[in-house]
């Protein structure tokens, strides 16, 4: 029993160490701020610990935990939809004509998306998942992913008052 527990802990540690960075960055884009991201990843990994048998047996354990993370994000948003935690205390209104290179502008625009659109955008364009993989992670149809991602992308462009996403992040 004790040996089993140790083995489980060791395996989990190794997995968490390897997955933390990627999960954290995904969570950061979903949550919109660092502390929320940390909390989100921690919750997801704790749940993964409970279901470790299924996680380790999965074809892609990291994808399994990513799905837990996305579900956790959706669940939280349902509970507290109006709060958006940010790093800095905003001392002015949301930027309207901000510098396109400003990461904060993109983060704010991302935070303004409805959760499903945000998930679709993050999974498609940051995690680089296919529409099928994104649909599996979000638990919806491929058609939903397409529409949510397209709407999200369009809103990012409009809400951030950027002339085009090609200019975000220094693109041409």
């Amino acid at each position: 029993m004790g040996a089993q527990k140790t083995a489980r802990d060791d395996e989990f540690r190794a997995f968490a160490g390897g997955a933390w960075s990627r999960l954290f960055r995904t969570a950061y884009l979903l949550a919109g701020e660092r502390h929320g991201a940390e909390d989100l990843v921690q919750q997801a990994l704790e749940r993964a610990y409970v279901a470790w048998g299924r996680v380790r047996a999965a074809d892609d354990p990291q994808a399994y935990v990513r799905r837990i993370l996305v579900n956790e994000h959706a669940r939280r948003f349902r509970r507290r939809p109006v709060e958006q935690l940010v790093h800095a205390v905003p001392d002015r209104a949301a930027p309207t004509g901000a510098d396109p290179d400003d990461r904060a502008t993109l983060l704010a625009a991302l935070g303004g998306l409805p959760p499903r659109q945000r998930q679709a955008v993050v999974l498609r364009y940051w995690e680089d998942l296919t529409e099928t993989q994104t649909a599996a992670t979000m638990g919806c149809s491929v058609g939903t992913v397409k529409s949510q991602a397209a709407k999200g992308l369009a809103k990012l462009r409009a809400a951030s008052s950027l002339s085009g996403l090609t200019s975000i992040g220094g693109g041409r």
């Binding site: 749940r47 996403l165 992040g169």
Partner: protein
């Protein structure tokens, strides 16, 4: 990298947008400091969840067993009543004697905690920019049944919706999935000059005596926390941090990088093992340290996540 829509979308524009989005999000995600992996916290939290789940499973099995035994007893009792009802005409006492155990078995113990009546406690107050703020915790005791959970959610939503017009309702399915009979719901919110503000949070905290009711080893922070006062910038540069702490915490002290410190004493809400502190951020200053102390003055823990710009 495979992007199905890049090949199927309108040529040029859509693909450019997607590539630009990938670049921009990558840059954004790459800019965050991911810190070190909190192995201990992950393992502690995971073990706690595992214990809770096992206990719930055992509890459910016990309830099922009790229901089966109880059901058998009631059926058995009804059988006896059917027999005794014949006797009852002649001997009322026989009928009474026969029904007493059944009614005693069916009568539940009166709940000491009402899931439909929140206990509301002010957990901190102060002034900022000449306005008075108050932080509140409304504890809704754990709902013992799904039906109670639905009624509780309706009441909680109604209360929150009055301050948050855009707050969506949870679906019945979501309420079912969210329901936990071993967790209270704690709604944290802020009032400024007596008016409830739009951002709030809802946390689930363990009921007294259940696993997780006390803090994890090495961490006096329990129940989560929130920074309130962002929405609409009600609190300007001085949002209020509310954090849950274990019963062993006697005092919280925040020392500010620009000098000075702020102290708060944890406030108990009803019989919950989680206590709450509320401290407004000093305008223009991050915290140098956020330290929790026990009654004997020993340091229980520190946290460098809150109060950071």
């Amino acid at each position: 990298m495979s992007k199905e829509s890049m090949t199927g979308g309108p040529a040029g524009g859509a693909a450019d947008d997607e590539a630009a989005a990938s670049r921009a999000l990558g840059e954004l995600a790459g800019s965050v400091d991911i810190g070190t992996v909190p192995y201990d916290r992950l393992l502690t939290g995971g073990r706690r969840r595992l214990r809770r789940r096992r206990l719930l499973t055992a509890g459910a099995a016990a309830v099922l067993a009790a229901a089966v035994v109880g059901g058998g007893a009631v059926l058995d009792q009804r059988g006896r009543q059917a027999v005794s009802s014949v006797v009852a005409a002649a001997s009322p006492s026989a009928s009474t004697a026969g029904s007493a155990p059944a009614s005693a078995a069916a009568t539940p113990t009166a709940p000491a905690r009402d899931p439909l009546t929140p206990v509301r406690v002010k957990i901190g107050e102060g002034t900022a920019d000449g306005r008075t703020w108050q932080a509140w915790a409304a504890l809704w005791p754990a709902a013992p049944t799904k039906e109670d959970a639905h009624r509780q959610e309706e009441l909680l939503w109604t209360e929150r919706h009055a301050a948050i017009p855009q707050l969506p309702r949870m679906t019945n399915d979501e309420v079912d999935r969210h329901w936990r009979p071993d967790l209270d719901e704690v709604n944290l919110y802020l009032t400024v000059d007596g008016k409830r503000q739009v951002n709030d949070t809802v946390h689930q905290t363990p009921v007294p005596g259940k696993p997780g009711a006390t803090s994890a080893p090495g961490s006096p922070f329990v129940g989560g926390g929130a920074m309130l006062g962002f929405k609409g910038g009600e609190m300007g540069a001085s949002p209020v941090v509310v954090a849950g702490v274990g019963p062993e915490v006697a005092k919280a002290v925040v020392t500010w990088k620009t000098g000075g410190s702020t102290e708060a004493v944890p406030v108990t809400v009803a019989d919950s093992p989680v206590r709450w502190i509320a401290i407004a951020k000093k305008p223009g200053s991050d915290a140098d340290a956020f330290t929790l102390y026990a009654a004997d003055g020993s340091v229980l823990g520190t946290d460098d996540n809150w109060f950071r710009s």
